[in-house]
């Protein structure tokens, strides 16, 4: 590399590097603590001073996935030796496993609602963005601003009429209702992000395709979509992250059937006080996919955040 007078000196780089790494380690501490707490026993989790080194235990995960009840020592003795390793863990506390907890269901609800709404909002967003990017749509700027302004509403404010509307339509506490709602919320982001990506594709490609005898649909499908693939993928991840993390609508509009994990995880309690290892285990499993996504797809994601924000 050629020498430049504006290139920071190596001493400056070291200094900057140390400060940034220090900040990063400090902010990662709570996340590391969540993961670590998931592998502690309840006693280790609430020890003072906080335990950095501990014997890992799967108790938190067992408690997360099972519902248990207390039995008398005599009954326990009558049951015979535990048949599985998780039975053995539970019996240390004079408990037996009654069945699975609701965590699995809630997690699946998050998956269904997250992927369903992501697919819909990216699909609708792509075609709308294409139309806004390529055609003369009457009142285009007003429509685009209207789409953007829907994001300024506090979720609780929107939730009041939606709550009433969904009750009448039978959509409250259903997967479909939540998918439609999250799609609507994500659409503004998805249209704006995708319009930016499609704007960058030279219009000449399509014109060439049209002259070659493609119809508009074919040109859109065979020329524009492949070109916009990375943009569509990173938009999809943003939509997925929003739906995955959303709490306000989920806590107000779902209670059983369609409840997602974010309102459920904080309600996990143990016998006698909060079962922090189980909460941490649930949080770890729930947060991990997003952390891995973020690290693997960092180039597209980080670009998407600034790109989306700066364009708006």
């Amino acid at each position: 590399m050629s020498y430049s007078i504006t290139e920071p000196s190596s001493r400056q780089k070291w200094f900057a590097g140390i400060l940034v790494v220090g900040y990063a380690l400090l902010t990662l501490l709570p996340l590391i603590w969540i993961i670590a707490t998931g592998f502690k026993t309840p006693a280790d989790a609430i020890a003072y001073p906080p335990k950095v080194i501990f014997t890992p235990s799967l108790e938190g995960y067992v408690n997360l996935f099972t519902s248990r009840s207390r039995v008398t020592p005599e009954d326990l003795a009558a049951l015979g030796p535990p048949t599985t390793w998780y039975d053995a863990i539970v019996r240390q506390y004079d408990m037996v496993i009654n069945g699975p907890s609701r965590y699995g269901e809630r997690f699946m609800n998050s998956v269904i609602i997250g992927f369903g709404s992501t697919f819909l909002s990216v699909f609708l967003g792509t075609i709308a963005a294409y139309a806004f990017s390529r055609f003369k749509v009457p009142l285009k700027d007003d429509l685009l601003f209207f789409i953007l302004s829907t994001r300024m509403m506090p979720p609780i404010a929107v939730a009041i009429p939606i709550f009433l509307m969904y009750r009448q339509l039978g959509l409250s506490d259903t997967h479909l209702g939540m998918i439609l709602l999250y799609t609507a919320v994500n659409l503004s982001l998805s249209v704006w992000l995708l319009k930016g990506f499609i704007d960058e594709i030279p219009i000449e490609y399509e014109e060439a395709a049209l002259i070659d005898g493609y119809t508009r649909f074919q040109a859109f499908y065979k020329v524009v979509l492949p070109q916009a693939a990375t943009g569509i993928a990173s938009t999809a991840i943003f939509c997925l992250i929003f739906s995955w993390n959303e709490y306000a609508f989920a806590v107000l509009l779902t209670s059983g059937e369609a409840q997602t994990a974010p309102p459920f995880i904080p309600t996990i309690i143990g016998s006698g006080g909060k079962d922090w290892p189980a909460v941490a285990a649930g949080a770890t499993l729930f947060l991990m996919p997003i952390m891995i996504f973020t690290i693997l797809l960092r180039k597209h994601l980080l670009r998407g955040i600034t790109f989306g924000a700066v364009r708006k």
Binding site: S4, I5, T6, K13, A16, G17, V20, A24, T27, P30, L31, W33, I46, Y48, P49, P50, I127, A128, F135, K136, L143, T150, R151, M152, P154, P155, I156, A157, V158, A159, I160, P161, F163, L164, M165, L180, A184, V185, V191, G213, R216, F217, I241, N245, Y247, P262, I265, P266, A283, F286, I290, M291, T294, R298, L301, L302, I305, T306, A309, V310
Partner: protein
Amino acid sequence: MSDHLIQRVASATPPRLARRIRGVSDRTIAWLFVTPTILLLLAVNIFPLIWTIRLSMTNFRTNRPNNPVEFVGLENYRKILSNPDTWASLQATAHFLISTIVLQVVLGFTLAYLINKKFRGNDLWTTLIVLPMMLSPAVVGNFWTFLYQPQIGLFNYFIEFLSGIDPASFSMIGDVSLAPWTIVLVDTWMWTPFVMLICLAGLRSIPPSIYEAAECDRASKWRQFWTITLPMALPFLMLAVLFRGIENFKMFDLVVQLTGGGPGATTQLTSIDLKREAFEKWRTGFASAYAVILFVTVFGLASIYVKALNKVKDR
């Protein structure tokens, strides 16, 4: 058939005319592509907004559907604006907004400035710093209550480690004077990366040739910072403030999990207050009026701010 004909005519005609001819059938496609989005947004955003405005002028209560619904005009609005609780929660929101924005801008800009020194591995560390903002605020906020436990919490232990204060002697969540700062701290932990990323985009948009010219003119680093770096990154910084402002005005999930508005009403932000009115006291009409007031406030403030932002951009 006719499509094919149009294509042939189009390719033989001058481009301007061709575009117009093709545009005729394109119009159908345009409508086909835009309509579902507009319809969904109308159904889930505009229709509820109109309904909210209508409800806000009634005394409707969701938990008493059989009560006669009366039109009360602007009575709900008058009640809200003369209610000291409303002003208390607006004050809590203002404290939260201003503190988080100041902290996040200072920290975020500093981090972006340091990362822009392009030390080795800076992109990996940037990603790691960004992690908190990608995660579910409710789930993470809930876990922070564990970190904030007196005695056993990691945060209190950390404070003891730094300053020697007894970790059992203070409760970040239970203390009236500490709680407003507790939510500021967690929000800053979570959202500084966002401000950092926008600032980084701003810093990277400054062409190096400007600095080279400044070096040739023997401008000091300090002067370069104040006359080049800061002014040129300012529109980005202001944009970051706008987004954080709107988001934190709507803030609900993180704070409701952290403090639930307490102790007392010290961290009762407007969204939490609104949720109480709408979904705990079930005063639907009253809460609708509250929602309208909040929406008008955020929309109004954002519009004024955007005007100021455009002035800075044009300069």
